[in-house]
């Protein structure tokens, strides 16, 4: 035990390492949370620039700025960067910052692994980004990487595949850490059914990640061996089937949308009660609804492939199973509404984003029900209607709650209040331009405009121009968000410990100072 005594200080030191090395060697959940969030913000702008390229090209019919191959690279990379580089890391950052403070733990359960999860992510994205600069360009077969098209990608394929492997490693390790932290590190008295809903939604999300990411890793491994090692997984001449890839991909891909949206549900379930000054309505039904959504999400994947020529029984099964998801989702929407019912509501920026989420996500959910109808889907498939649908679910379902969470917790993290006026301006600009961009895409899709094309028929011109103008405003508005965040970090009105009125009733994090010390809950708090 003498050895342990001499190294004691090394395990219980009280401050971060000096200088830049702090960020490389850190095991502190707050540091790593910050790293994730900053990385996500950078990637949000990288993916955003790609979106701007897409909308510039589509501003009017004909070819304007980029060649079709590069345009397809942009749609592919925009999706991959936004999903894996921006939204998922943003929620991982929120999990790192908030979960230990919410459950009264001193840190994540596996701090060294936590450091590794973050840095794997950085290298994975670097590997992916390097394809932009190589001969033949970045992957251009869509983010789903369908064979046989993706196998013709040339030099980028092995880089894209290994990047997916590393992204998988990153997410799986982070998920293991989150599950173990929640199951093993709760303060005495913090029972599972007392946990903030954000912890519950992340627990279930982490389970989904561990269950489906290995399948995606296996699928892209098969792409690589098909392209370079002579296997026939997706080659009919060898007895394989390209549709098999779609099944494997969507076994991952459909849960993936819930991986993005479940932590968002958690954020919204945290923000709405605070600004309604009421406890969350139907807490336990929220937990069960989340678990049901996660379960259902794993058995509905083929509704993304209604048009590939499945047997009729398959079409019917996947159609009905998909519609079932509307039930637990409806439970959630009604619970959020009931939480606001007769509450003393105020509409600070986080609440605005949360309410907008409830309304617009429901809208995106309804177009989802339209798409789940197999016979109708034959009309919508691969059209801009699908693009509009998944931006209503993923931008509203992913990004809006991240904004809500950042405005909600930024005063806690930095010790400064953000500028409320500018925050609300950011909200209204984002809300307006988001709808301007994507609402019209529903009409484009119903009128027959296909997705993933750099040029289009003349009758789509007006709506495309409106959509592009909306996109430019949407992109520019995010610079305001960057400004607000930087301004708040650098100074501003001092935030109180509770920040929001009576917030301490809604979570342990509000009992801590703003900003919280480097290590919090070194001795466990007592939960009544």
């Amino acid at each position: 035990m003498t050895a342990a005594a001499t190294t004691h200080d090394e395990y219980h030191d009280h401050g971060p390492a000096k200088g830049f090395m702090r960020w490389i060697v850190t095991t502190n959940h707050k540091d790593i949370g910050t790293l994730y969030l900053v990385f996500a913000l950078v990637m949000f702008f990288v993916g955003g620039i790609m979106a701007m390229v897409i909308r510039m090209e589509l501003f009017e019919p004909g070819m304007q700025f980029v060649d079709p191959q590069f345009f397809n690279s942009m749609t592919t990379m925009h999706a991959l960067v936004m999903v894996f580089g921006a939204v998922m890391p943003a929620f991982a950052g929120l999990a790192n910052w908030m979960i230990p403070m919410m459950i009264g733990a001193p840190d994540m359960a596996l701090p060294r692994l936590n450091n590794m999860s973050f840095w794997v992510l950085v290298f994975a994205v670097l590997l992916l980004a390097s394809t932009l600069f190589m001969e033949g360009g970045a992957p251009a077969a869509g983010w789903t990487l369908y064979p046989p098209l993706v196998l013709q990608g040339g030099n980028n394929l092995p880089f894209a595949v290994f990047s997916v492997h590393l992204l998988g490693v990153s997410s799986i390790l982070a998920s293991i850490n989150i599950i173990v932290t929640i199951l093993n590190m709760r303060a005495p008295g913090m029972t599972m059914m007392k946990m903030p809903l954000f912890c519950w939604t992340w627990l279930i999300t982490a389970f989904l990640l561990i269950a489906v990411l290995p399948v995606f890793a296996a699928a892209v491994t098969m792409l690589l061996t098909d392209a370079h090692f002579g296997t026939s997984f997706f080659d009919a001449a060898g007895g394989g089937d390209p549709v098999l890839y779609q099944h494997l991909f969507w076994f991952f891909g459909h849960p993936e949308v819930y991986i993005i949206v479940l932590p968002a549900f958690g954020v919204v379930s945290t923000v709405i009660p605070t600004f309604s000054r009421k406890p969350l309505f139907g807490y336990s039904s929220m937990v069960y609804a989340t678990a049901s959504i996660a379960f259902l999400s794993m058995i509905v994947w083929a509704h993304h492939q209604f048009t590939v020529g499945m047997p009729l029984a398959g079409e019917l099964y996947f159609m009905y199973a998909t519609m079932l998801i509307a039930v637990p989702t409806g439970v959630k929407v009604l619970n959020w509404t009931a939480t606001m019912w007769k509450g003393s509501l105020t509409f600070e920026t986080p609440m605005l984003f949360a309410v907008a989420f409830v309304v617009l996500f429901t809208f995106g959910g309804f177009t989802g029900v339209m798409l789940s109808l197999a016979p109708a889907d034959f009309q919508y498939h691969d059209s801009y209607f699908v693009v509009a649908h998944f931006h209503y679910t993923l931008v509203v379902g992913g990004t809006f709650p991240v904004f809500a969470a950042v405005y909600y917790w930024l005063p806690k993290w930095t010790g400064h209040m953000y500028n409320e006026k500018l925050g609300q301006l950011h909200f209204w600009l984002t809300l307006f331009s988001f709808n301007l961009t994507f609402l019209v895409q529903h009409f484009l899709g119903l009128a027959g405009m296909p997705r993933r094309i750099p040029d289009y028929a003349i009758q789509f011109a007006d709506f495309n121009m409106i959509s592009s103008i909306g996109a430019f405003i949407l992109g520019a508005s995010q610079l305001l968000f960057l400004y607000i965040v930087v301004q708040t970090i650098r100074g501003g009105e001092k935030a109180t410990d509770e920040v929001w009125e009576d917030a301490a009733k809604h979570g342990l994090e509000w009992t801590l100072p703003s900003p919280p010390p480097y290590h919090t809950f070194a001795t466990a708090p007592e939960i009544k």
Binding site: M1, A3, A4, T7, E10, Y11, H12, I24, V25, T26, T27, A105, P106, A109, L110, P111, R112, L113, N115, M116, W119, V120, F123, P158, F159, F162, H165, L166, I176, I179, V180, L183, N184, M185, R186, M190, I210, A211, L213, P214, A217, A218, A219, L224, T225, G230, T231, S232, A236, G238, G239, G240, D241, V243, L244, H247, L248, M310, P311, A524
Partner: protein
């Protein structure tokens, strides 16, 4: 739930970043090698060596801390839960390959033969005269093979070997709990030996398949699923045997006690996991 007076929080970690750096360089090198770039091989070797050294460094730090009594019971629980979820992710990885095998045997190959009213109708026109029987190298007749892999020669022997190794590792565990070091070490030696023997016999089988049976990775869907499933399993057995060798080495050095032997348990769980995968392989790849 936590009931500890003080928590264990490591402050700084240099190894994880270096491990990631090595791993990323290895994969970037591999990608370059596939693209036939001269950079490929040196990057891959440098990255691989870095990765191995850094993993070794990280794990020896963990071993020193563990033997130094730094970890409390809560940390032990975290590690065990972490290992279980890691194995669950491996289960899903293999599930994808088994799913592929079942999909090919139950759906895509029969459809290529014209079965069913859905997809079968069009493929019948494309691949006229293809009779869908398993094993197959597909209707394109690119690379045939002379015979498929039987179940009752080497594979049956390998099943016996792996099952015995599962028993010996449990016997070693009993020795560890009873504080019988000799039983612990002997049990581990037997397990590691059986593990590497399995790998050697698998290599013999592959050699035979390539040189005598004409069965290769390129032999259509049968060769593809056969080699990818058994290949990934073989990689896992190799990895498991290396992990158990480290456990053996540490046992000889006097590490582990009745209360504190997470690494032993993790290695044993991993070993039982590859054992179960093999049983499924034996039934669905070799036998049926």
């Amino acid at each position: 739930m936590s009931t500890n007076e003080s928590y264990y929080i490591p402050s700084k970690a240099t190894w994880p970043f270096l491990v990631v750096f090595g791993l990323a360089m290895f994969l970037a090198g591999f990608a370059n090698l596939i693209n036939e770039s001269v950079l490929g091989k040196p990057m891959m070797i440098l990255g691989g060596v870095t990765f191995i050294i850094m993993v070794a460094g990280w794990f020896s730090l963990q071993a020193i801390e563990s033997e130094g009594g730094v970890y409390n019971a809560q940390v032990g629980r975290s590690y065990r839960m972490g290992m279980m979820w890691f194995i669950f992710s491996e289960v899903m990885f293999f599930a994808a390959f088994f799913g592929t095998l079942f999909y090919a045997r139950m759906y895509s190959v029969p459809w290529l033969g014209g079965e069913g009213s859905g997809p079968g109708t069009s493929t019948q026109l494309l691949w006229e005269g293809f009779s869908a029987v398993w094993p197959t190298s597909g209707p394109g007749e690119r690379y045939g093979f002379e015979e498929s892999m039987g179940a009752w020669g080497l594979p049956a022997l390998n099943t016996l070997i792996l099952l015995s190794s599962g028993a010996t590792v449990t016997w070693a565990h009993w020795g560890l709990i009873a504080n019988n070091r000799q039983q612990l070490i002997r049990g581990l030696i037997a397990t590691v030996t059986l593990g590497f023997l399995f790998v050697a016999l698998q290599a013999t089988e592959y050699h035979e398949a390539y040189t005598e049976m004409g069965l290769t990775l390129g032999s259509g869907i049968y060769g593809t699923t056969f080699f990818m499933l058994t290949g990934f399993h073989g990689l896992h057995v190799t990895l498991g045997a290396i992990i158990l060798s480290v456990v053996l080495f540490r046992s000889i050095r006097g590490h582990f006690s009745k209360e504190n032997h997470f690494v032993f348990e993790a290695a044993a769980w991993y070993w039982h996991f590859v054992d179960v995968v093999w049983l499924l392989l034996f039934v669905f790849v070799y036998w049926l």
